[in-house]
């Protein structure tokens, strides 16, 4: 079982993701934007096994979250997966260069694919 931080500003989509991952035996902590996500990491340092993060979010976008995580010794090695509606290659490249572990485009999402992707990185 993994403890997963999910940063996603769509409550409906987050609900579906969380339910899928909880059904697969994981604990999911949901944050509605990037800054709230970073706050969750500070509240419980060293306890998260994976971060699933949308790119387009208010307050702090996914790229901002990734940069902050990589700049912190306590979080830089947590696997980070973009779960995003941004389907352009520039975003994929940018995420990879910043150190994202993987990338998942929402329009291709399926329950099985998501569970397998998480399993691959924990």
């Amino acid at each position: 079982m993994a403890k997963i931080l999910l940063c996603e500003d769509s409550p409906f989509f987050a609900q579906a993701i969380a339910m899928t991952l909880k059904n697969a035996g994981h604990e999911v902590i949901h944050a509605l934007d990037g800054q709230l996500g970073l706050d969750q990491l500070k509240l419980a340092p060293g306890t998260f096994d994976l971060i699933l993060c949308d790119i387009m979010m208010p307050n702090l976008d996914g790229f901002g979250v990734l940069k902050a995580i990589k700049a912190d010794e306590g979080t830089k090695n947590i696997p980070f997966i973009f779960l995003t509606g941004k389907a352009d290659m520039d975003s994929v490249d940018r995420g990879t260069q910043l150190g994202a572990s993987d990338y998942f485009i929402k329009s291709n999402v399926s329950m099985d694919k998501l569970v397998e992707l998480v399993k691959k990185h924990i």
């Binding site: 409550p11 579906a16 899928t20 329009s107």
Partner: protein, 130 residues
């Protein structure tokens, strides 16, 4: 500098993906996938659970979206074409060929009408962009 794609996603998040999928919100696509699991199916089909309420709401949104897409002239093809153009990350409308400009402008105009009708039906932005 924000590209046209960034502007599209900032304004309406995943809506373009829903329109390109014929009106099915992304979250509904995910929820529908869960129906193959008996435990999840039970929750989704129970309107007294939070998940059940969301599922029912998203299914209604899909029905209304399909209807309003027809009324406003938003086709799946138009949304797909716009999505293809936008995911190339053009910096501005001026960077597009004339035919592509027409597609984007038609898509944006039609989308505005669609969003207004959905909001008039009582849907929130969070629901429309789910």
């Amino acid at each position: 500098m924000a590209s046209l794609y960034d502007l599209e996603l900032q304004e309406s998040n995943n809506l373009i993906s829903a329109l390109a999928a014929g009106g099915q919100p992304l979250s509904l696509k995910m929820m529908a996938d869960m129906l193959s699991m008996p435990d999840m199916k039970t929750q989704l089909e129970d309107p007294t659970t939070e998940m059940g309420k969301s599922y029912a709401r998203m299914k209604q949104l899909e029905k209304d979206m399909i209807q309003i897409m027809k009324e406003e002239g938003m086709t799946t093809e138009l949304a797909k074409e716009a999505q293809l153009i936008l995911t190339r990350n053009p910096a501005s409308i001026a960077d597009l060929a004339d035919k592509e400009k027409d597609v984007i402008q038609k898509y944006w105009l039609t989308k505005k009408g669609l969003m207004l009708k959905l909001q008039n039906k009582g849907y929130t932005a969070q629901e429309i962009f789910a």
